[in-house]
């Protein structure tokens, strides 16, 4: 028999007729956000959930920023970069990232990677690897995950506090997310390999990153990127220069080319996900810096400054890339020479610079 319970009351549903279209009155059909001008005739979901969420005294913010730093203004000062824009709000992320795209894309990637790794384990895929390839993966792919992590945690994550609009900061936040996820993908792959029945040293990646001479140029480049105070300079030096000359060189023009010939069909799937991330991140980077070099009032100033930044950062990345050269000869099957890979990476960089209307820096041919 059921025991008596305390009597509870419940809110009663009531039909209120508060649905759209039931009455006509002024603004009864005003069903679009009307405080910004969309890029096309109708605003996209991305614009609706992103534009003007970070206010700006140059737009609608009337009382100004109500907190300041001890040594300067608060909010999002435009002076936090030496680049200038007639209207920073013109930038819209071509990837249109908002929470749904971020979670769906990244969830798809990690699910696919997990499936690949599970299948590889079941199929004993690593048993066919040559010793030289195993050494290559444990050391060099292992070292690379640190570069991805460093960029994600201390370059992009840091920058997304500093740009003057929500659209720029969100695009950079997604970039940071990509890097952190990819670094973890590589680390967990490394863990899987350590636990497989092949002879794989899951610890040597740290030693390689810290001490192997071929990696010290890359490590120096990454560490110096984290030390830049100007958010746009670090974004430019990372995404335009380092990624083109070192990231794409290593991921696309080495690992993706040689893995299959060395009996490894697992690594390219993983690294390919990282390349796909960079494609997306390169897209927003291109649009942002193109906007700045094409700025009718500040284009020349920006081009001059970006050229200075090229002179400052290209030599570091060129050196980092060239110091990696010895690892091209380490896999048993050598598909590409370093010269071929470098030429492909440098070509990609030149194309990127041409898109941005920036001249090729002389330092590229050093």
């Amino acid at each position: 028999m059921a025991s008596p319970t305390t009597e509870r009351s419940f809110p009663k549903p009531e039909f209120t007729g508060a649905e759209a279209g039931l009455l006509e009155f002024p603004s009864s059909k005003s069903r679009t956000y009307n405080y910004f001008k969309p890029a096309k005739l109708r605003s996209t979901m991305y614009e609706d959930v992103t534009v003007d969420v970070q206010p700006d005294p140059d737009r609608h913010l009337t009382q100004g920023w109500i907190y300041g730093f001890g040594d300067g203004p608060g909010g999002y000062p435009k002076e936090w970069t030496a680049l200038r824009s007639t209207d920073w709000h013109t930038f819209l992320d071509p990837n249109e990232e908002w929470e749904q795209t971020i979670l769906r894309n990244n969830a798809n990637v990690v699910r696919q990677i997990q499936l690949n790794l599970n299948n590889a384990k079941k199929a004993g895929a690593y048993k066919n690897w040559s010793t030289s390839w195993t050494r290559f993966v444990e050391k060099h792919l292992g070292a690379w995950m640190h570069a991805e992590h460093g960029l994600g945690m201390h370059v992009f994550l840091s920058e997304q506090r500093s740009a003057p609009t929500n659209m720029i900061n969100n695009a950079i936040a997604v970039n940071s997310t990509h890097k952190l996820r990819f670094a973890q993908d590589l680390a967990l792959y490394n863990l899987d390999l350590s636990e497989s029945d092949i002879d794989f040293d899951g610890k040597i990646h740290r030693q390689t990153w810290h001490g192997d001479p071929v990696w010290q140029g890359v490590r120096e480049n990454v560490e110096r990127l984290t030390a830049i105070g100007d958010w746009a300079e670090s974004l430019f030096a990372a995404n335009v220069i380092f990624e083109s000359l070192v990231g794409v060189l290593f991921r696309s023009h080495l690992v993706m080319q040689v893995a299959a010939r060395n009996g490894d069909y697992v690594t390219p799937a993983l690294v390919g996900a990282g390349e796909n991330d960079y494609d997306r991140d390169q897209r927003y980077t291109r649009v942002l810096f193109r906007m700045l070099t094409a700025d009718e009032n500040h284009g020349e100033h920006n081009k001059a400054l970006l050229s200075e930044w090229l002179s400052r950062w290209v030599p570091l990345s060129v050196r980092a890339a060239h110091e990696l050269q010895p690892i091209w000869s380490q896999p048993h099957e050598k598909v590409m020479t370093f010269a071929d890979s470098w030429a492909a990476a440098a070509d990609g960089f030149r194309t990127f610079l041409a898109d941005l209307d920036l001249p090729e820096p002389k330092e590229l041919s050093l």
């Binding site: 997304q160 560490e223 030390a227």
Partner: protein
Amino acid sequence: MSRQSMSKAHKKITELSWEPTFATPAKRFGTDYTFDKAPKKDPLKQILRSYFPMEEEKDNRVFGAMDGAIRGNMFRQVQERWMEWQKLFLSIIPFPEISAARAMPMAIDAVPNPEIHNGLAVQMIDEVRHSTIQMNLKRLYMNHYIDPAGFDMTEKAFANNYAGTIGRQFGEGFITGDAITAANIYLTVVAETAFTNTLFVAMPSEAAANGDYLLPTVFHSVQSDESRHISNGYSILLMALADEDNRKLLERDLRYAWWNNHCVVDAAIGTFIEYGSKDRRKDRDSYAEMWQRWIYDDYYRSYLIPLEKYGLVIPHDLVERAWERINHGFYVHRVAQFFATGWPVNYWRIDPMTDDDFEWFEHKYPGWYNQFGKWWEAYARLSKPNGHKPIAFEEVGYQYPHRCWTCMVPCLIREDMVTDKVDDQWRTYCSETCHWTDTVAFRPEYEGRATPNMGRLTGKREWETLHHGQDLADIVKELGYVRDDGNTLIPQPHLDLDDPKKLWTLDNLRGIEFSSPNVLLNQMSDEEREAHVAAYKANPNVTPSVA
């Protein structure tokens, strides 16, 4: 992922960080706190491989509910009284959310601990999620609720409205000033750990009682991320406590953060819950009762007090004072009355209170009717345009309040108001603590110690100053709070949309001059000011009975 493999995977990803030797990360944001490299753990072992599918699943549920709400025509049964306040709430909240994402690098800069960095990075992604999912919820309301006006100009209104500015502290406070004060104590230890309970749990339950089950769907999904953020904040707090030199700063910051959160969040959420609801069951919790459960018991007694044994000085007096203000000082009710007084410069409509509301308020807050009843009767009487002015400009025994320079909520518990000449300007503060915040805490020196990283109170902090001496119609037009016929106001002091004659227009506001209490205060002689302040503090501000 199994628990065991999760632990192993988490251990593995800690190998990703390293000690730099060529250059160290730029310190864009400083702190006066000091940290040792204490090996603090991330107890929640956050890994992106499990995080993304989990969040995607949460998202799918949210979007499924949204589709269901539209197909089932939820808006047939939502209370307009409730939805109108969402125009204010949802204009504010996406900014604090995205500010929390922006605050993460500040905490990362300050705290030398890679495991905590990892947790903070995941929090950054959460916060981008929260901000955009809330903007999307508002978009859905705009598309399907009967009156989209106010939702349609949401971020502009947030940026130019007095109430938006009050809310903006809950956002700017996360990203400015000392990195630990902002991104840890104010954001995580107080705002997220204490006040998201009333924001994201108590308020959604009231939404459901008013026919809106989408707000709970979205905000409970948001709240389910908060436990990870609370864990991040707790770890940093324990690290800070490990250094004796931080104790004074922690005491300062906890006092500021607690009091500011109370002033701002209780003002807003208390009003939404008490004055946005049509649910007047006597056994439904009042805001004061919710506050006792979520803030006093769950936060203060269960989270804060146990930290005393680690040397944290808890602001017991301020917790008790907040409790007093909410339970016996009618804090929330005074704020709601102020919002309703200011209706012409809002971008939402405010429903008059009825006899059912009066009865409920008196039951929950004895003495309510004597303080507020006659005023709300006057509000109802003056709600339709009929040759009179808006209530703020009619003689109903209500003196428009001074604004607190610090928290920007007006000085509504009048006897507590503090007046002081600070930085060459006469300023008013709602309380001793807000006065202390401006004059002592947010300064480059604290108790003889240099605090160069502490933030500053800046900006045009009294909203009324911007519009002093202007015609009310011009102000409203300039702010953009006008409907698409170019004359009818977005704000209305009632919910009646069926007859255009009942809607206030710019014409009804023409010829009314708007004044700033702070400008007037600064124009007074010393004697005038002293007399004015004494009278202000003594004024019970009660509407007399209509003869």
